[in-house]
């Protein structure tokens, strides 16, 4: 087996890298793939929380690097899905505890046993980013339709293009708010794609369900009804190679829907 190593990165913090990582990883595992996620955000680990695995961590990536345990011992199995594993970051160390070479080495070893190795990258463009990218050959750049996130994504794309090892990168636009786009108060997906001129792999709508799913430590892809969950599932299917159309995030446009909306607007104002 020779797995694909995909780094999930963004430049700017808070755009949803870790959420994206947890959901794509879970979705891929649900599709029957063997998946391992590596949290490289040393000192600020969170991927374990989103997966609800925070109490199961015994060894971290730093323990592996410093040879306190074997690589396989440090892999934490997911509660629900035996196909899914996490290699957690150390919370008490900083980014210098692991080098680019060491991460590359870990990725190489994991490739033999897994279909997908998802690397969760820290925010910023410093050493933490360089480390996370070191072992990867593909990248997913997460951004939102906001100026600062798009600008930082542009910077990241520039850095990824300069890296020989990165064979391809795709854009994932997170926290899209269709009603704001409709009223011309938010850049549309097309605007962002045009500005960054990158291939799109996913459009994820803003969804309050993300907050509750984080609270519970359960990725939203497990919720069949959630629109964001559906969108993340589609991203995973596109990664596998399926041709999945993008979700239509616009509200239903039927006559009844319009009338309904009109009246709900009227009653809403009377409060």
């Amino acid at each position: 087996m020779s797995g694909r190593v995909i780094v999930i990165t963004s430049g700017k913090g808070g755009v949803g890298k870790t959420t994206t990582n947890a959901n794509i990883g879970t979705a891929l595992a649900r599709a029957g793939k063997k998946v391992v996620m590596i949290d490289t955000d040393l000192g600020l680990r969170n991927l374990d929380l989103l997966l609800g695995l925070e109490n199961r961590i015994v060894y971290t990536i730093v323990d592996v690097v410093e040879e306190r345990c074997k690589l396989k011992q440090a892999l934490v199995k997911d509660k629900k899905n035996p196909n899914l594993c996490l290699l957690a970051a150390a919370q008490t160390r900083d980014k210098s505890a692991v080098t680019e070479e060491q991460l590359k080495d870990i990725c190489e070893k994991l490739k033999k046993d897994f279909d997908f190795i998802l690397v969760d990258c820290p925010a910023g463009i410093e050493q933490g980013f360089q480390n996370a990218v070191a072992g990867a050959s593909e990248a997913i750049v997460v951004t939102t339709p906001e100026m600062s996130a798009v600008r930082d994504a542009d910077r990241i794309i520039g850095l990824l293009e300069a890296k020989e090892e990165i064979k391809s990168y795709k854009l994932l636009i997170n926290r899209v708010r269709p009603n704001l786009i409709k009223s011309n108060d938010m850049m549309s997906v097309d605007d962002v794609v045009e500005i960054l001129s990158a291939d799109l792999i996913g459009i994820i709508p803003e969804d309050t369900g993300i907050i509750t799913s984080t609270n519970k430590g359960e990725p939203i892809v497990n919720d069949e009804k959630s629109l964001a969950g559906k969108a993340y599932n589609n991203v995973a299917r596109r990664i596998i190679g399926e041709d999945v159309p993008f979700l239509n995030l616009e509200e239903p446009q039927g006559v009844m829907a319009k009338i309904k909306k009109f009246f709900s607007g009227l009653t809403g104002k009377e409060k």
Binding site: R151, N184, D185, M187, F262, L266, K269, E270
Partner: protein, 176 residues
Amino acid sequence: MILANLYNKVLGFFRQTEKEAEESSKDTARNRLRVVLMQDRTNLTPELMERMRKELVELLSKYVEMDKEALELNLEQDGDQVALMLSIPVIRAKDEDEIKAALEEEDKAKEDTEEISEESEDDEEESSENNDENLDDNEISDKTSENDLNSEEKTKKADEEIETAQKEDKDKNKDK
């Protein structure tokens, strides 16, 4: 109460159509982002752009008489490439003698830089006075690109530039 809301809704609808003439906040964001990304991608500060503009004016005025104030130099995005767009409203093509004189001056300048630079400044002032009456609607568009664009794209760009240059010229004529 419902009637009042209905009235507001109808009014709001008309207001919205009026609003469309203004720039939406999304467009503002997009345009600001474009400009800032151009600068990020090229490392050209506004000061450097201004300097480049001045040097280009100096170079090109040897060959053509142009509206120096209206010369525009901008970075524009073309797919994933960045193009340097130069738009010059040409007032008058210089005749052979003038070009020859300008070139000779330049040759002299190589021998003695300080002396000649003063002379050529004087020349520029004189010629711009002469040509104010001589307004000709000739527009030439010039364009250089950092990257190799194919010729199709080049002509497309050039056409766009001519259009904008002509619009500018019309505006100026109105003012007069």
